[in-house]
């Protein structure tokens, strides 16, 4: 059986249900474990004080805010090239999750920033980039909502997603040029030398895994809802024609 058969709506409904259940079960467990471990199990860093512990929410949500858009780009390309409906619907379902992740990242960032920089908001390049990303998400969702025909909407939002990605990257670069910020460098990267101590690193990974599973579960759920809506539409049309 080809990999693409999993993208058949009926097939998708079959396999996605148990996967979604597992993810929904494991995500809170990992999240709670990661955050609790991070909160109670690590020492307060002298410079950052206790506020640093918000990184267990801030970093994973920021990571997912970007990765959600990346997933939407991939899904849009698959839809445009191979015309798998599930792919387009998955992109549609991912957008609200992306909005939520971006909001969490912005809000936790503000809470973290208040004691550290003495302000809830600063026009720091990274904060600004996330705000711009947030606007791109809103535009994407608004375009989906505005177009009646589902295939046309899928096509146009895919084009928007692809072109938007280029401009989002461009904005990221432009914003850097505009204001050299006060953010610390990336707190976590796989190849670079770790600049976060191990004690923080492991619970952080745990929380990130929790966010990833939560993302998967919510996108699967959203896609299932979209498929059911399309099925209802198809049935209504058939009824009307008969």
């Amino acid at each position: 059986m080809s990999f693409w058969e999993y993208a058949n709506p009926r097939k998708y409904m079959e396999w996605s249900s148990p996967v979604m259940m597992w993810c929904f079960g494991a995500a809170p467990a990992l999240l709670i474990a990661g955050v609790a471990w991070g909160y109670f199990g690590t020492p307060n860093a002298a410079r950052f004080e206790a506020s640093v512990k918000i990184i267990y929410l801030h970093v994973p949500s920021a990571l997912m805010a970007i990765n959600t858009w990346a997933m939407m780009v991939v899904a849009s390309i698959i839809w445009l090239v191979r015309r798998h409906h599930v792919s387009a619907l998955a992109a549609k379902a991912a957008a609200p999750v992306g909005i939520m992740m971006t909001l969490i990242a912005l809000i936790t960032g503000a809470i973290w920033g208040a004691p550290m920089w003495g302000t809830y908001w600063a026009w720091d390049p990274r904060l600004t980039s996330f705000l711009i990303l947030f606007l791109f998400y809103l535009g994407y969702v608004a375009l989906w909502a505005a177009i009646e025909d589902p295939d046309t909407a899928a096509d146009l939002t895919s084009v928007l997603c692809l072109v938007g990605s280029i401009f989002a990257l461009l904005s990221r670069y432009a914003v850097n040029f505009w204001n050299q910020g006060l953010h610390q460098g990336a707190s976590l990267s796989l190849d670079a030398e770790k600049n976060v101590a191990d004690v923080y690193y492991l619970p952080l990974l745990c929380a990130i895994a929790g966010f990833v599973l939560l993302f998967i579960a919510m996108v699967l759920l959203g896609t299932r809802t979209e498929i059911r809506l399309r099925r209802m539409r198809a049935l209504t049309l058939r009824e009307r024609k008969a």
Partner: protein
């Protein structure tokens, strides 16, 4: 000049017509008939290449085709002559001198198209077809809101100028426009499958 093989076409994800086949040689016309919603417009749009065919083939030289919908793209803020000159230019043609007489527009040449009556506007829309000078015409309800006299004039243009010069025309209409051409009743091709290709996946 125009050949259509086993064509299936859709509108908004719903398959409307399937198995449409016909072929037209130089100087031949075909009249499409059928009740509202049967798919006349969708078929013409598919033939003109505005929407992809679900299956089947349309064989013609694309650079010989012109399409005219019932919205004829007349700009209210341009004069009659300017409207025609624009479309002539887009199609790389000159405006033929007798086109204004053919469509009874000679007195209206320098009037703003916005001040024309509905019938006069339609005549301008039809004159546009003559100006484009293409061999294969796909015409969607060309005589809507034309009076009997203007309808006769248009029929005369089609018969005596376009078809007799070896052109081809496919015309969707539900009135008799007075052209001697075979009629294709599209009700015969109405599809029995209830759903379109994009919805089928979800049933």
């Amino acid at each position: 000049m125009l050949e259509v093989r086993d064509l299936t076409c859709e509108r908004g994800g719903q398959i409307l017509l399937s198995g449409v086949s016909f072929s037209l040689g130089a100087g031949e016309a075909l009249i499409l008939q059928g009740p509202n919603g049967v798919g006349k417009t969708s078929l013409l749009r598919t033939l003109a290449g505005l929407q992809p065919a679900v299956s089947g083939e349309v064989i013609h030289a694309p650079e010989t085709v012109a399409y005219a919908s019932h919205a004829d793209g007349v700009k209210a803020a341009l004069t009659v002559a300017e409207n025609l000159a624009f479309w002539a230019d887009v199609y790389g043609q000159d405006v033929p001198r007798d086109v204004f007489e053919q469509f009874d527009l000679a007195d209206l040449k320098s009037r703003m198209a916005g001040t024309l009556s509905a019938g006069q506007k339609r005549r301008l829309g039809l004159a546009r077809i003559a100006v484009m000078n293409r061999a294969i015409l796909f015409l969607d309800e060309p005589t809507v809101s034309l009076d009997g006299f203007s309808t006769k004039r248009f029929a005369a243009y089609l018969r005596d100028v376009h078809l007799s010069n070896g052109g081809v025309a496919v015309i969707a209409t539900h009135v008799d426009i007075g052209i001697d051409a075979p009629v294709l009743d599209l009700t015969a091709y109405q599809t029995q499958t209830a759903s379109g290709q994009s919805d089928e996946a979800f049933l």
